[in-house]
């Protein structure tokens, strides 16, 4: 165990450094500021050896995407290949989050290899950024990148690259993100080769020992639940339509079974959640008390058995839209799990709410104005967590935008960001150009998760649900209201 701890810590370091390098070299604010990415290392048996993530959605999607890539290419994988996929229906979460994998061979055998998932600023779809409140099918959100090789045996596939870049409104940024992801994977491959040479078989043995360790810690934790069976339900809305998520949790001696049977059917709005998204947000409330103590690896994933009915909101049939699932639905998935745990008399301290959805806006120049349309993902505040300070855990490691940088870089003058009772109020004046605005706002009957008010010269309108078709001109004012713990 001690030997394994030491050797495994070297592997953890490679995974973490891969992420830090990505954050350092990425040109996209989504990576460098919002930290919308994850890094991982897999074994030759496609077991998750270690994963680092800075936002919650990637927990299962990394492995599910890698599984899908290896299923797809089967025996046609060689040294130097770089594989890509971005498909919510094949292991992904939302269309614009891309998984890139670098299989590594040592003496002709597949060995430990790295993978990375990154949210790209735009991968086509109806609106820049991939978020479309009116979408009912995924092509309205972004293109589907089914498994493809960007490099074959070390050679860049120019035709593939051209095709990918041609289908984004942010060609140069996209290119640089692909380059950054590739550079990080190559760095990780080099480091893995060094570790394999240095530690040989002990490296893989350490992975299995520490995988067992992570699993053991979770099992030990869940064994302390006062009740072995718990259930709960939660209701939220999308475009005025109420949706119920139902969950039952059963703990056995070695696993937590989470069953979403009874959850509402899929809907014609983008709040459907892919299976990988559902699994991640269902798992985090149970993992949260241990998140700082154990490594995320196969042992963590194996501790959970998650059943989601096909065709339901949380496992929709292709090609239902899923774009808002990580910002909205994921929070309600975590919310229903926390509610069940609390009803099961688990420690309310350990299992307090980790969710808290809030409003956000995506702004972009009117179509056809610019050669490259870079969307601005505007999240100027956050709902305060149930602990009464800072954002909730599902906000991730995102850095709140600076008022001065927002004004300097984008011409939006922030005139207020302050607390008012349980709310955070942010007011911003557009001093720039005309922008189209998409709002993403969680909905629930008889409650509020915050809102966005847009005041133009002509009128003042408060949005309580996600909308599109809004346009703001210079001098128009946006007001964001965030409610503590998402208003509940």
């Amino acid at each position: 165990m001690i030997e394994a701890q030491i050797v495994y810590s070297k592997l953890q370091a490679v995974c973490r450094q891969m992420g830090e390098a990505l954050q350092r070299i990425s040109r996209s604010p989504l990576v460098s500021q919002d930290r919308a990415f994850a890094t991982a290392i897999f074994t030759n048996e496609l077991k998750l050896a270690i994963q680092h993530q800075y936002e919650p959605e990637h927990l299962y999607a990394m492995k599910d995407s890698v599984d899908h890539l290896f299923d797809y290419f089967s025996f046609d994988i060689s040294d130097g290949d770089i594989l890509l996929v971005a498909d919510p229906y094949n292991g992904g979460t939302k269309g614009q989050t891309l998984t890139m994998v670098a299989p590594l061979f040592y003496h002709g055998e597949l060995v430990l290899f790295p993978a990375v998932r990154v949210q790209i600023a735009d991968l086509a779809g109806e609106f820049p950024g991939g978020f479309n409140p009116d979408a009912f099918e995924i092509w309205q959100e972004s293109m589907r990148i089914t498994p493809v090789k960007l490099y074959k045996q070390g050679l860049l596939q120019q035709d593939v690259l051209r095709f990918l870049l041609a289908n984004s409104r942010v060609k140069s940024l996209y290119q640089s993100e692909l380059d950054a992801m590739y550079a990080c994977l190559r760095y990780a491959q080099k480091e893995l080769q060094r570790l394999i040479k240095q530690y040989g078989q002990r490296l893989i043995e350490s992975v299995y020992t520490m995988t067992n360790y992570s699993n053991r810690r979770i099992v030990e934790h869940i064994s302390q639940y006062p009740k072995k069976t718990m259930d709960s339900k939660i209701t939220f809305a999308s475009n005025g339509e109420n949706i119920t998520i139902y969950v039952s949790i059963n703990t056995s001696t070695n696993q937590v079974a989470i069953d979403f049977n009874g959850t509402g059917m899929q809907v014609n709005t983008p709040v459907n959640a892919s299976l990988s998204t559902t699994k991640a947000f269902a798992t985090w409330p149970i993992l949260a008390p241990l998140a700082d103590e154990i490594a995320i690896n196969e042992g963590v994933l194996e501790a959970f058995e998650i059943h989601v009915p096909k065709g339901s909101l949380l496992n929709p049939d292709f090609p239902a839209s899923v774009g808002f699932s990580t910002f909205i639905t994921g929070h309600f998935i975590s919310g229903v799990i926390t509610k069940a745990l609390q009803q099961g008399n688990t420690s309310t301290k350990l299992y307090s709410k980790i969710h808290g959805p809030g409003p956000q806006a995506i702004l972009f120049s009117p179509f056809g104005m610019l050669k490259e349309t870079v969307p601005l993902f505007l999240v100027p505040g956050y709902p305060e967590s149930s602990e009464g300070w800072g954002p909730s855990a599902l906000f991730g490691d995102r850095e709140l935008v600076s008022a001065e940088e927002l004004e300097f870089n984008y011409g939006f003058k922030m005139v207020k960001r302050e607390k008012k009772a349980n709310q955070m109020i942010v007011e911003i004046i557009n001093e720039n150009f005309v922008f189209n605005v998409i709002t993403i706002i969680p909905e629930v009957e008889n409650n509020t998760y915050g809102n966005i008010t847009i005041q133009t010269n002509e009128n003042r309108k408060t949005f309580h649900k996600s909308s599109t078709g809004i346009s703001i001109r210079p001098g128009n004012r946006l007001e964001f209201v965030y409610e503590r713990t998402g208003g509940q």
Partner: protein, 706 residues
């Protein structure tokens, strides 16, 4: 205690001494040097009023030189002081009662912290202690735009009312931070005038003076910390200076700054946030000095104390600087020595978690009760207990025999808490703990170096602190580092750095401009003005050999987030367009090195102009001694049983103070010095160099160490 035996005790009273004083948590260290390279040093216990310990130490130095304290101080033109007053004030939350005046609508930025949480998922993490409670944070009607234009006049009446209210509340210091004050400080300066009219006794901290750069949270946090720590630091320094003057000191008292430079008492009091790393910065400065002397330009310094392990990187003799520091949960965005800390020290407790994994730290036994072997009631096994049980630390010669340790208590603690639960022997358990702590430390070194784009194999490892040199040899093997340096002045290392450091002031002016439209004439005027201000701040003409000015520009590709601080290539005071072209070329290359791409076609934005004014002091002279015999047997004082693996070995023990330049010590062996133990592991050999530093050459067996 004198660490150098070669000083001439019959000092000529006219000899001029420069004194370095570093006050740590346990000891106050002092190093005095003369122009011709004589060095004398001592340690004395730190005292609750740090100035008492300083005076005690000065007295000890004077005693060692056989002169009176008055004579010694009268011949000290300069005292450089590393102090933890500001740090302790912030760590203990014992600072001034602070009020904040900020742009209306933004008084909660200090709580929002840009959404930063030290642990994203921990529900146990408590909110940071608010050093400025909300009721003392007052929004003032005023607003500037990004170009510094006034779009809402300052409401002076509101300022007066706010100041009066804060005074009634018993506020001792006021921090002022308005949006875009770094572009136009007019409103902040006017507020300062009003405060001086209304309440002249208050300490005032303006963001435009403390940190004149973009990002309001970073600025307000740093400004508040400055207001919080300033009054106590100012009062302490005035008090110390008076005490020294009472004893005959007529020279200048300077304070080591977090950025590695030193500044006078007046400036330090105004910018207390700039001396939060005053102590450790001295150590890093010393590291660069020793590195240069020993021919190692690239150094990683590791300082292992009782509760923590500090790592810093020195590249090409320049310590790396960061503006990303968090201290006591507050953001301090001033440029500081980049010192990465993990919770692994001699007092770190080993424990077994619920999954059966062996862990070390971050809980520490501290100095009381301390490790089990201290015999003060501590029962949990610590790293020091491990080092005693394995034979690395001599229990009868700890701190030169001033403190006796109990090996049996160490063994009992390890047996009860680690060996028995794991079903292994106490020695096996101790070896396991040692391996875990070595691994944690080498991972920290790997992290620090790779995060900055360096490969640790290109560096030498410099070990300081009481236990640093026990573990450094193993870490070097693990990291692929070939050379370990244990400085002869390791026990008083920070104080030595204080003696060696130059004076330094950093000025910054924000200047948002696209490069193509840059007005070079104005840039030159700005730099001239910055240099003038820096000269006024720096002072110290009497102790400086010459001044050096270094100019920098913060640049980035337009629309991107990564900034690069690029040195301006200019041989004269004025920057020509040719100089600018060369600087731009450097920017592209630095961007490529740091961020893996460059784009010469892309428009470049200038964000800030920076200027470092350095008062270069006459270089500290350390005389090289000639090499004697290789054979170190004259210094061998004993043999001892130690454990590098399960089977014991009997190895020679050397008295470090008896070793001479040129001595070559083959591993395995242990060198004991006051306050420092050096372990030379099997396969390694140690050379005592011409300055009595211990240089260990490491045989590489990566991944196979036991």
């Amino acid at each position: 205690m004198v660490f150098r035996e070669d000083i001439n005790m019959n000092q000529d009273k006219a000899t001029k001494w420069v004194l370095g004083v570093d006050v740590g948590g346990t000891f106050t260290d002092l190093v005095a040097s003369t122009e011709d390279g004589q060095l004398v040093s001592t340690k004395t216990p730190s005292t609750p009023d740090q100035s008492d310990g300083v005076i005690n130490g000065v007295q000890k130095i004077a005693d060692l030189l056989d002169i009176s304290i008055e004579d010694f101080l009268a011949n000290c033109p300069l005292i450089v002081h590393g102090t933890t007053v500001a740090t302790n004030t912030l760590l203990e939350y014992s600072g001034a009662k602070v009020g904040l005046l900020t742009t209306e609508g933004f008084r909660d930025e200090i709580e929002f912290r840009r959404a930063y949480k030290e642990s994203v998922f921990s529900v146990r993490l408590k909110a940071p202690h608010q050093i400025v409670p909300r009721r003392f944070r007052i929004g003032i009607r005023e607003r500037l735009d990004k170009d510094g234009n006034i779009i809402k006049e300052l409401d002076e009446q509101a300022v007066r009312q706010a100041v009066q209210r804060l005074v009634e509340e018993g506020i001792e210091a006021i921090a002022v931070c308005f949006l875009f004050s770094f572009v136009n400080p007019m409103h902040e300066k006017r507020v300062k005038e009003i405060i001086e009219e209304e309440a002249p006794h208050l300490f005032v901290s303006l963001s435009s003076e403390v940190l004149p750069q973009i990002r309001e949270f970073e600025r307000v946090s740093t400004t508040i910390v400055n207001a919080y720590t300033g009054p106590s630091l100012q009062s302490y320094l005035n008090h110390l200076e008076s005490k020294l003057q009472e004893q005959g000191f007529r020279g200048e008292l300077f304070v080591m700054q977090s950025n590695g430079g030193v500044q006078n008492v007046e400036q330090t009091g105004k910018l207390a946030a700039g001396s939060l790393l005053s102590g450790p910065a001295g150590g890093v400065s010393a590291g660069a000095f020793i590195g240069e002397k020993s021919g190692n330009d690239n150094i990683i310094t590791v300082d292992m104390g009782g509760t923590s392990y500090d790592v810093s990187v020195i590249e090409q003799l320049q310590p790396t600087i960061t503006t990303e520091s968090w201290i006591s949960r507050y953001r301090v965005a001033l440029p500081m020595m980049d010192i990465h800390t993990i919770g692994s020290g001699g007092g770190s407790i080993a424990w077994i978690d619920s999954g059966g994994a062996l862990r070390v730290g971050p809980q520490s036994a501290g100095s009381f009760p301390g490790p089990a072997c201290y015999g003060r009631g501590g029962t949990e096994p610590t790293v020091t207990d491990v080092n005693v049980l394995l034979g690395y630390i001599n229990p009868d010669n700890f701190l030169g025999g001033e403190m006796k340790l109990d090996r049996n208590l160490a063994e009992q603690a390890i047996m009860k808490h680690i060996a028995d639960p794991l079903g292994i022997s106490p020695i096996e358990a101790a070896l396991a703990i040692s391996r875990i702590v070595n691994s944690d430390m080498s991972n920290a070194v790997q992290y620090v170096s790779s995060q900055r784009g360096y490969d640790p194999r290109d560096f030498a490892l410099m070990a300081v602190g009481g236990a640093g040199a026990i573990h450094a040899g193993r870490q070097a093997e693990d990291l692929g580092i070939n050379t370990v340096i244990v400085p002869s002045l390791a026990p008083v290392f920070s104080a030595f750095g204080d003696v060696a450091a130059n004076l330094k002031v950093t000025e910054l002016k924000t200047r948002f401009e696209d490069l193509p439209s840059l007005n070079l004439e104005q840039v030159n005027q700005d730099f001239e003005q910055m240099e003038k201000i820096a000269r006024e701040k720096l002072g110290g003409e009497s102790i400086v050999d010459h001044f050096e000015t270094r100019r920098y520009m913060d640049m980035r590709y337009k629309g991107e987030v990564h900034e690069v601080t690029v040195p301006v290539r200019s041989r004269t005071k004025r920057i020509t367009s040719l100089n600018l072209d060369a600087t731009v070329k450097d920017f592209h290359e630095m961007h490529e090195r740091l961020y893996a791409h460059q784009d010469p076609e892309q428009t470049i934005e200038i964000l800030n102009l920076r200027l470092d004014l350095i008062g270069v002091r006459k270089k500290l002279v350390i005389t090289d001694e000639s090499f004697g015999e290789e054979d170190p047997s004259l210094a061998k004082i004993a043999e001892r049983t130690v454990y590098f693996e399960n089977n014991p070995m009997t190895i020679p023990i050397y008295d470090g103070s008896l070793l001479a330049p040129g001595n070559l010590i083959a591993g395995p062996s242990v060198i004991e010095e006051w306050g420092t133990t050096i372990v030379v592991y099997p396969g390694q050999e140690a050379l005592i160099d011409a300055n009595r530093n211990c240089i260990i050459e490491v045989q590489q067996m990566r991944g196979n160490q036991q």
